[in-house]
Amino acid sequence: MSAAPPKAVFTKPQNGNGAALPVSKLGKAIRVDGELETDGELHIQGVVTGRINAGTLVIAGDGYVEGDVVAREVRVDGRLNGRVFAVNVTLAKSANVTGRVFHNSVTVEQGARIDARMPWRPPSYFETLDQLPETKS
């Protein structure tokens, strides 16, 4: 499979069985540099630098992500520095977010530390998100 088809940046829920996919977990001691791609769920407790495409992304309390995140659903308990493109975003009270959060629906719990722009976008924006926009950091 060398000739990869042009992949959609935003992974749509294909026939709605995303929940059946196994959960990937990157433990506390891990450090990943690069690109992560899954239609399923991804839990990050370690450090990830790079780009993440996921169905559901959870950045746990110890987790740290630096880079762009594209997902249907994002929950941040840990730290995030970069851009998020997600329909549903939850920033928990222990979250520490810097950057931009493109969302259709967002929840911010009291106590979250956020230094970010949080632009709202219609759902169609995320479905047609084939190329991440350039934004000035």
């Binding site: 996919l21 196994p22 990937s24 977990k25 992560l36 399923g40 839990h43 746990a60 840990g78």
Partner: protein, 168 residues
């Protein structure tokens, strides 16, 4: 009428002062020289995730990683990794695929690796497909394993090998 009732003496402001001075000198009555115990400050790790499997990382079959992975604990790969993997124990599952080098103390392979394996203990299962060299100190190969490469029992003998393993 002010919204914030400023006349109220804030009890919070006074409390820190009272808590700060610890009984600095040990009481003269206590004969035993009391070792100051560092007070164990138990900070609950406030992560909502259930502590299911410790620090073990699982790259499930739906996940594809392009880049490097490094862990001081174990990694289980059921998906696809394009890049190098370093961990204490690396397990490459049945339908998993790693394109890159795998370093560890223990490497268990049931899937595909295209690259090098450097580990103290290497287990190639019956479904393993290994394209590349294996540097090991102790190896087990089950019937059915495919190997295209050299097996070198050199692990830990010379640090010349790209200082890869990193586990002295």
């Amino acid at each position: 009428m002010s919204v914030f009732n400023r006349t109220d003496a804030k009890p919070n402001e006074t409390t820190p002062a009272t808590t700060v001075p610890p009984p600095g000198t040990p009481s003269p009555y206590s004969a035993t020289p009391e070792v100051k115990k560092p007070q164990a400050v138990v900070q609950p790790i406030a992560s909502g995730a259930p502590a299911s499997t410790g620090g073990v990382s699982v790259i499930s079959k739906a996940l594809k990683i392009t880049g490097q992975l490094e862990s001081t604990e174990d990694i289980r790969i059921d998906g696809e990794v394009n890049g190098d993997v370093r961990a204490v124990s690396v397990t490459v599952g049945n339908n998993a695929r790693v394109k890159g080098n795998v370093y560890g103390d223990t490497v268990e392979l049931a899937g595909t690796v295209e690259g090098k394996i450097e580990a103290k203990k290497v287990v190639l299962g019956g479904t393993a497909r290994m394209t590349g060299d294996v540097v090991h100190a102790d190896i087990k190969i089950e019937s059915g394993a495919f190997i295209d490469g050299h097996l070198k029992p050199d692990f830990g003998k010379s640090a010349t090998k790209t200082n890869g393993a990193g586990h002295a």
